[in-house]
Amino acid sequence: MKRNLYILALVATVLVSCNQEPTLQKYYVENSDSKEFITLDIAPNIINTDSLELSADEKKALESLHKFNVLIYKADSIDKSKYTAEKEKVKNLLKTDQYEELMKVNSADGGFSISTKGEGEHIEEFVVFAHQQESGFGVVRVLGEDMTPTNVMTIAGLLQKANLDMKQLKPLQEMMQKK
């Protein structure tokens, strides 16, 4: 019996360590060519700080930021069921893929949630997931290294001061125009 238990434990470890489960990263890749989806990568230099004199703290905060990954699904008025299915997929990914949910707001016609990955306050990834029945949903992954809450607040402050490099958002603008 004891041996059986060992084997079971071993199998469990193997199952956990070679993770075949779908991840959010895979979801991005899989859907990047799909018509309904728009994916884009945004570099942190979208926050144009050339005109600003940065303090040491601000520099450090910016350095902790590596990139933004954006995925947007346009809701098709014809196919509500697909929207729901894709939305559920993302929701499940956020539950299974080692994310910790910080908070969520849900109401009748939409909502959003914020999740993170990382240990303690050393956050590697933020995921903001927003959905609205009429327009679709969007997932923004903020990837970085050691993004502490203080750094995040500093960046939020910088966003208000700095100019945004709009060229990087062009695919988004094009999508809006097409609509």
């Binding site: 238990l5 079971l8 910790e100 849900n106 109401s107 009748a108 993170t116 809450p149 607040m153």
Partner: protein, 173 residues
């Protein structure tokens, strides 16, 4: 034996993610739900603020003591009734003290607390504002380990529903 192990595996998620009986209202039609988890409070508590700003420091100290905040609002009469019965059965299974009961122009507000070692130490705060007709029902549950007197800091900063009533309740005790 095998069955037991399987059962353990099946139960594991339920044991790890302690579910609140109120979570079933999340995602319902006609329900607005706001859920803030412990990690969020932890992270918020890590933000460095001006150490001279006493209000901010007080706020940060309190934030670190919070575990979970759940607020559910609904105006659908069916869900309202279900909310009420869920609260009633929850109170039966978890003995919470009634802190205050207010009847404000037909609107019933009840505030319950689960106290810790000291009488003013709160482990759980439950507020149920029963709506009728056009008024919405609001259910709020806040868990953690904080002092009742600190509630006013929270209601001031976080714009919680029923802030005024909570303030009154905190002062009374």
């Amino acid at each position: 034996m095998k069955k037991l192990i399987i059962a353990l595996f099946v139960l594991m998620p339920a044991l790890i993610f302690a579910q609140s009986p109120f979570d079933k209202f999340d995602g319902r039609d006609g329900v607005t739900a706001v859920i803030v988890n412990k990690k969020m409070f932890q992270l918020m508590g890590e933000v460095k603020m001006d150490p001279k700003d006493k209000d901010a420091q007080q706020y940060l100290n309190l934030i670190k003591k919070l575990d979970n905040l759940r607020v559910f609002t609904t105006s659908s009469s069916k869900t309202m009734a279900e909310m009420k019965s869920t609260v009633t059965s929850y109170l039966k299974n978890n003995p919470l003290e009634e802190l205050m009961r207010i009847n404000d122009s037909g609107r019933n507000i009840r505030i319950y607390v689960k106290t810790g070692a000291k009488a003013s130490q709160v482990r759980e705060l439950l507020m149920f504002m029963e709506g009728s007709g056009k008024e919405e029902s609001v259910l709020m549950s806040l868990t953690g380990n904080f002092d009742l007197s600190e509630i006013s800091v929270l209601t001031d900063k976080m714009n919680l529903p029923g802030g005024m009533e909570l303030n009154k309740a905190a002062k009374k005790s």
